[in-house]
Symmetry: C2
Subunit: 367 residues, 2 copies
Amino acid sequence: MSHKLFLLPGDGIGPEAMAEVRKIIAYMNEAMNTGFETEEGLVGGCAYDAHGSAISEDDMAKAMAADAVLFGAVGGPKWDAVPYEVRPEAGLLRLRKDLELFANLRPAICYPALANASSLKPELVEGLDILIVRELTGGVYFGEPKTITDLGNGQKRAIDTQVYDTYEIERISSVAFELARTRKNAVCSMEKRNVMKSGVLWNQVVTETHKAKFSDVKLDHMLADAGGMQLVRAPKQFDVIVTDNLFGDMLSDVAAMLTGSLGMLPSASLGAPDPKTGKRKALYEPVHGSAPDIAGQGIANPIAMIASFAMCLRYSFNMVAEADRLEKAIANVLDKGIRTGDIMAEGATRVGTAEMGDAILAEFKSL
Amino acid sequence: MSHKLFLLPGDGIGPEAMAEVRKIIAYMNEAMNTGFETEEGLVGGCAYDAHGSAISEDDMAKAMAADAVLFGAVGGPKWDAVPYEVRPEAGLLRLRKDLELFANLRPAICYPALANASSLKPELVEGLDILIVRELTGGVYFGEPKTITDLGNGQKRAIDTQVYDTYEIERISSVAFELARTRKNAVCSMEKRNVMKSGVLWNQVVTETHKAKFSDVKLDHMLADAGGMQLVRAPKQFDVIVTDNLFGDMLSDVAAMLTGSLGMLPSASLGAPDPKTGKRKALYEPVHGSAPDIAGQGIANPIAMIASFAMCLRYSFNMVAEADRLEKAIANVLDKGIRTGDIMAEGATRVGTAEMGDAILAEFKSL
Ligand SMILES: CC(C)[C@H](C(=O)O)[C@@H](O)C(=O)O
Ligand SMILES: CC(C)[C@H](C(=O)O)[C@@H](O)C(=O)O
């Protein structure tokens, strides 16, 4: 079994965070004989600077051939004015679409040591553990037409199209139900069926999929606006939330912010298992962005990137014990009061990106 | 000048809440000679039960002819299975569209007496005063095609279309800038220009409108997902937020929940001023829904409905002093510790819907 990792650090704090993952990979190869092979490419603004597109064909081919892609972050004010087709985000969106990474898993967990960092009252977020399952290759992100037309008279018309087919809703809800079985066995599906036809179909297909194959799982439906409210009011009521690409974008960001652990949250984007090998294409990335304001200073929090690598161990290589160990290492380091600036608290020890990475690696070794 | 009010109490707790507004109208007519004429109609599930549509042509005509519409709430489990075209929400959406109520004003304020009811830490929401200006007649709510098509093979395809024209963005952002001038003079525009063409156009037109006519107002742009995060992290950073129909739906609900005052928040939906008379068509409604679970028990909080009437006094009849007085009456009653169940706190006096309405009216009289 190959262990090909393709690293796309991207822009802003992406490269700094990725450097800490490299240390862990190197250690695992040396001490645990994991045999990870790594290659590195460009994505986002840095790719645009290098060759005028947000990701090159060559790097796309490497991503397609890899067992897993580790992705940092893209974008920054430097590229605010580049043409829409080659903006930094286009690289990420192409990866998601061409690798058919339809299932985006975004855990929103509250690290106990950080409950006080949340803007919510600590008792509402302590022990929070939600998994948002977001559809990632459909909806308004990719539907056609997607155009701006000049109507004359100084008027333009912009159009985006939200499209969902039955099979897309079926496969993403199946992922949500399957994951719920490994957790608290409850799924809440969110859409706007009172306004959107895609919401009507979404609701129907989730209901039918549940009835046909997952009736042992508890299923609720909530309107997406009410869902946003409930996330703020009482987030612990949720186990798994399944929703479409755009609602998932909004709701997972709100959920991430609730935890007070935004700089810490990883995500996995998975394709369908290959019918022959059972392998899924996969990309792992932090939920946070490229944070251009602090890039290059060595102060960024690498935990989300490291936790994304833990998800990679779990989902792409079935290295469950190693993933658990890495996650435990992160939690222990936090418990010891070691903190980057974004999660600093009174009495804690402030460290930079590299020191945080080193501390987690040391803890990982010792476990 | 006519003072024609058309009342549409709707479903669930709508009628109970509206009854309290009726008391205030009756008092104002009697004691202050305001000359309000009221008529009442059906909307939502009750309209469907009566004549098979979510609002009758007759009631639509009355809404068109009125100076202002007061709207309660629509919907409930009883009508979950009615056909899409006649579902309760269709009545509200038709009113918004046919009356061309493109500007939805949703204040998210935190009543000082309720800062502790928020799920956020009190210091983050105390004194919160945001105004969300949501575009209400465009976007994915009304764009065509909006269909579900049978593709055969058990596959269906659902399509919704997000459409925005220059003039729609221009007029809603002008409303936002004008209102900002009466407040802290700052507007934050939210869209997803990194993914949506409508976001690209939105951003451009808001920027141009600002430059052409409102350069004295501070303008920021934020991606809508980041905006949702920032609302949870530090809501007081915002003054006026301007955004499209769907993002406005999500973001205003999140903002409303932050305040801890959800049962208290009003909204105004306004049309363009008539070129001759300067009058705007308008509809006023609580942000909360029909709360079918507590309907008919006399325990619902009527404050959002009463505060919506205060907005009506302010925006439709220019009765600014009366609006201020009514809002002050609400705040005073809360300060006295008079509470409905939804905002109950230790040491407060629990009252029902009618008692709350009576207390506010008594306070209003005394001011
Ligand atoms: C960078 C952007 C295109 C992306 C998205 O909208 O999906 C991001 O917000 C995310 O959530 O991963
Ligand atoms: C009832 C529903 C159609 C409506 C909307 O989505 O606009 C509601 O959520 C609102 O925010 O006023």
